[in-house]
């Protein structure tokens, strides 16, 4: 394990700021903990803790109706909670950028993460989202930047998958 914290969460935060994202919905997640903390500390970003990820889809639709840009931070298991609400985005061409920390793929200890984690990419594509996958930390800034441009430029849903290899495995027994 590296001693220094990874740079990509801060780079993602910088992308959100450059993209003028004003509302960030999330369900607490270890992989996104650094980014969530940065959002909470920023006076120009409203951080909105959700009870379920689908709330973040509807939140983003409302934000855009009111002229603000929103992002959704979630774990791969949250994607399954969003499917019907994503029909709102497709029916109305609402923009949304979502950053998804992946579970169930790289050195996963918990096999119950595999069923949802393994279908995130096809599910998001079926829901008409554009999907990018970051395999290495250095992929993140460019993909995130492109995702924000595309989501709000074309009014569509763009997902960036942050692979488990990139995030590192969860430590189960300390």
């Amino acid at each position: 394990m590296n001693a220094s914290p990874p740079a990509w969460p801060d780079q993602l935060f910088d992308t959100l700021k450059r993209g003028n994202i004003r509302q960030v919905g999330y369900v607490p997640d270890a992989g996104h903990s650094r980014l969530i903390a940065r959002c909470k500390a920023d006076p120009d970003i409203r951080d909105i803790a959700l009870t379920t990820e689908e709330e973040g889809i509807a939140l983003a639709a409302g934000a855009w109706l009111g002229g603000e840009r929103a992002a959704l931070l979630m774990q791969s298991s949250g994607v399954g909670n969003c499917i019907n609400m994503l029909s709102l985005m497709r029916s109305c061409s609402f923009p949304l950028v979502t950053f998804i920390t992946m579970r169930g793929e790289w050195e996963e200890f918990n096999p119950w993460q595999v069923p949802m984690g393994s279908i995130v990419e096809p599910v998001m594509k079926l829901c008409d989202a554009e999907v990018y996958r970051a395999m290495k930390p250095e992929d993140v800034p460019q993909l995130a930047e492109r995702a924000v441009q595309k989501a709000f430029g074309e009014e569509r849903v763009v997902a960036v998958l942050l692979s488990q290899q990139l995030i590192g495995k969860k430590v189960w027994v300390k």
């Binding site: 909105i48 855009w64 009111g66 709102l88």
Partner: protein, 194 residues
Amino acid sequence: MTGTLERRAAMAKLVAGRDDDLLVVPGLGSTTYDLAAAGDNDRNFYLWGAMGGAAMIGLGLALAQPHKRVAVITGDGEMLMGMGALATIGIQQPQNLAVIVFDNGMYGETGGQPSHTADGGIDMVSVARSCRFPTCLEVSDEAGLADLAGRLKTLEALLFARVAIMPDEPPRVLPEKEGAVLKRRFRAALGLTP
């Protein structure tokens, strides 16, 4: 407790004489028809789907437009599906949002099957109170309705209201269905680039 208020008349009263600062998000189904029947308006964002999402759309809109007033007016079934939103909204405490539930204790769109609020079941007002809505109203008569309509004209704090409507199903009044059109006209009415 079955309500006695007629839903169309109740909706008409809530939006009568509305100004341009009132933005309304109805739930899919009957409350969308009720709002359309009360008079079309670019500042209505009708829902034809996204069940369980009305209150959260209202939250995103209220946060983005803090100087406008946002009224989510939805049915009991739609609210039950997204009940977690009440907790999320309670934590956020937007001052300019009202969540109003037209409660007839049934799923009108699918044949009138009872919902969890039917027959002394789940009390949505208590749920909203637990979720820290500072004002929680039980609206069961014309006086209560007039009070609620008056509050919507200023709306100085987060508000929840249950409106006890009778289980009737008036003829449908169908508004625009094309989502992108509804979105664009709504944004244009707010002065945003469509």
